[in-house]
């Protein structure tokens, strides 16, 4: 077995939390149960990984098989990477019969025709997600297994989730291969990025909770109402206001959990409005300013702003439109020009 493969397997196993190593190796399916029984998974990780490498030596693992373990790891821990969403478009209107074998063949062929030194792995999952792992090389160097790009694609949808690595120069080639393989014409990057892959999927596949008004005779889900203190000595002075805020919040955010994004960025290219006598920015140039909101869970924190009394309800549509517009990067220009990709400031 190649030294580089051994080292790669060793490093991949070291990334996995100790309790997850055995289940992940079982999912990998490359080492037999009997072989796994011989490893003591309670020792320190350094030793576990050495034992695993030893077993892989016995099975003469090659890099493609080792790459599968990497896909499994990234599929279980996708939030360690940052994902961007790309949207594909096409002009035709025929129904698509997505054939997986066809897709894989076309993708590999397109990619390899431009760059021979690539390692390409595919893995399909139950939710119709196709995971593609690409390790990039150059015309003169073998693929660097530590500089990988991941692509997640659901068939017959126009959205692709890409976690590119440092090598952004390979992105156009990757995009081209995707477009050709999936029978689309065009692809462009959306202004939507997050660590949470599932939340990005929720946003573009419209799986997040939207508050639809219907008469559907289904039992209403129990709303988690905090138990009201029945102490009659406590009087709620702002009961009406609290109810109004709760109603508005529910209309905007719905009842369910919000998609998880970590930041929203607003690039302001608006004119600074000040007292003309102050002579600030006499040149009347746009005041360039970047506002960035960060949070471990931005949308949930926005949802709790008004009930916590920190902001007035209703919140600015600039903040609440994030899931519906499927973007968290905005450019705000003056009202005069309605340029594509910009959001008019209220």
């Amino acid at each position: 077995m190649d030294e580089t493969v051994a080292e790669y397997i060793r490093r991949t196993v070291l990334k996995i939390p100790r309790d997850e190593i055995k289940p992940m190796l079982q999912k990998w399916g490359f080492l037999s149960e009997a072989q796994l029984e011989t490893v003591n998974f309670h020792q320190i990780k350094e030793n576990i990984s050495q034992d695993v490498v030893q077993l892989c030596e016995e099975n003469s693992t090659d890099i493609k098989q080792a790459a599968v373990l990497d896909i499994i790891y990234n599929n279980i821990y996708p939030n360690k990477r940052i994902w961007s969403v790309y949207q594909m478009s096409k002009t035709g209107e025929e129904t698509e019969y997505f054939d997986l074998t066809d897709f894989k063949k076309k993708f590999k062929r397109r990619l390899r025709s431009a760059l021979k030194n690539v390692t390409i792995n595919f893995r399909e999952y139950e939710d119709n997600a196709i995971w593609i792992r690409i390790a990039w090389g150059t015309p003169y160097k073998k693929p660097n297994q530590y500089k990988t790009s991941y692509v997640v694609y659901h068939s017959q949808t126009p959205y692709v989730f890409i976690s590119a690595s440092v090598l952004r120069s390979n992105l156009p080639l990757l995009c081209q291969a995707l477009v050709v393989a999936s029978n689309y014409h065009d692809i462009h990057e959306m202004e939507l990025r997050s660590h949470s892959l599932n939340s990005l999927k929720d946003i573009v596949f419209k799986r997040y909770s939207q508050n639809f008004q219907t008469y559907c005779p289904r039992p209403l889900t129990e709303r988690n109402v905090a138990p009201e203190t029945v102490d009659l000595r406590i009087i709620q002075e702002n009961r009406n206001e609290k109810e109004r805020i709760r109603r508005l919040n529910q209309q905007v955010f719905g009842d369910g959990p919000q998609p998880k994004i970590e930041f929203a960025q607003y690039k302001l290219e608006t004119m600074f409005k000040s007292d003309p006598k102050m002579h600030v920015l006499d040149k009347k140039e746009p005041f360039r300013c970047l506002v960035k909101f960060s949070s471990p869970h931005l949308l949930e924190s926005l949802k709790s702003l008004a009930p916590a009394g920190m902001a007035d309800a209703p919140l600015s549509p600039l903040l609440t439109c994030i899931p519906q517009k499927a973007r968290n990067y905005f450019k705000i220009r003056e009202k005069k020009g309605l340029l594509p990709g910009s959001f008019v400031s209220p």
């Binding site: 129904t95 419209k206 008469y215």
Partner: protein, 237 residues
Amino acid sequence: GVFAHLALLEARAYEAAVKQEETEQQEEKLARLKARVQELRLQRDKLRAQVEQQEKGQLGKEGALNPAQPSAQTVLEWKMKSLKAMLQIFYLTGISGKLTKQGVCFCISTAYEGTYLDFYHLDLLTKPEVQIYRHSIPIFIPLQQIAKKYLQTDIRRFLSVLSDHLNAYVGRRYQADQLQEHFSGQIEGTLQRNSLCNLLVFNYNVSSENKTFLFKVRLLYGDPCCSLPTEAVISST
């Protein structure tokens, strides 16, 4: 001396007697009033019972005697019942809607052969023209295409076509799930499918006379509004 004393005592005795009479009289009065209160209470309870009985009797009596003038209560109950029945019918047809401030919100329910499956929502604006505000239709259903064809001109047809697409999709998906669940023993390897479930490729084995034959199947569902395949290619491996 003694006469004055005696006169004083007499006066005192007289006063005490008067006082005692007064208290006695007051106590009598109190007792009388208490008895009266009891009487009145009894009477009130009797009257209350009578009124209640009359009310109940009223409904029954009037229903039978005066069908042209039912009480407000019955009318309301009947209205609610018929409304609920109407909504139930709408729900059973698979398409129900509710007017909103800006337009109307539709709910499309899907089912396959008696099993209720998913439901999807479509929030429409009606001004300045009919347009889709937001929805929860899966992204691989050609919503925009269907909307372009019918939304402006014939909304009934739009909803009907969309409902056909959705019902066919969930039907195909349900069948594929059932196939995987109930025939997992006969399917070799994985069942290759896609988001729309309109192409299924799998290998399955058939045993007869102690011999097992392996077949490869490719099912193509050509009609997006149909949950049955239009093309089946079976080959032996």
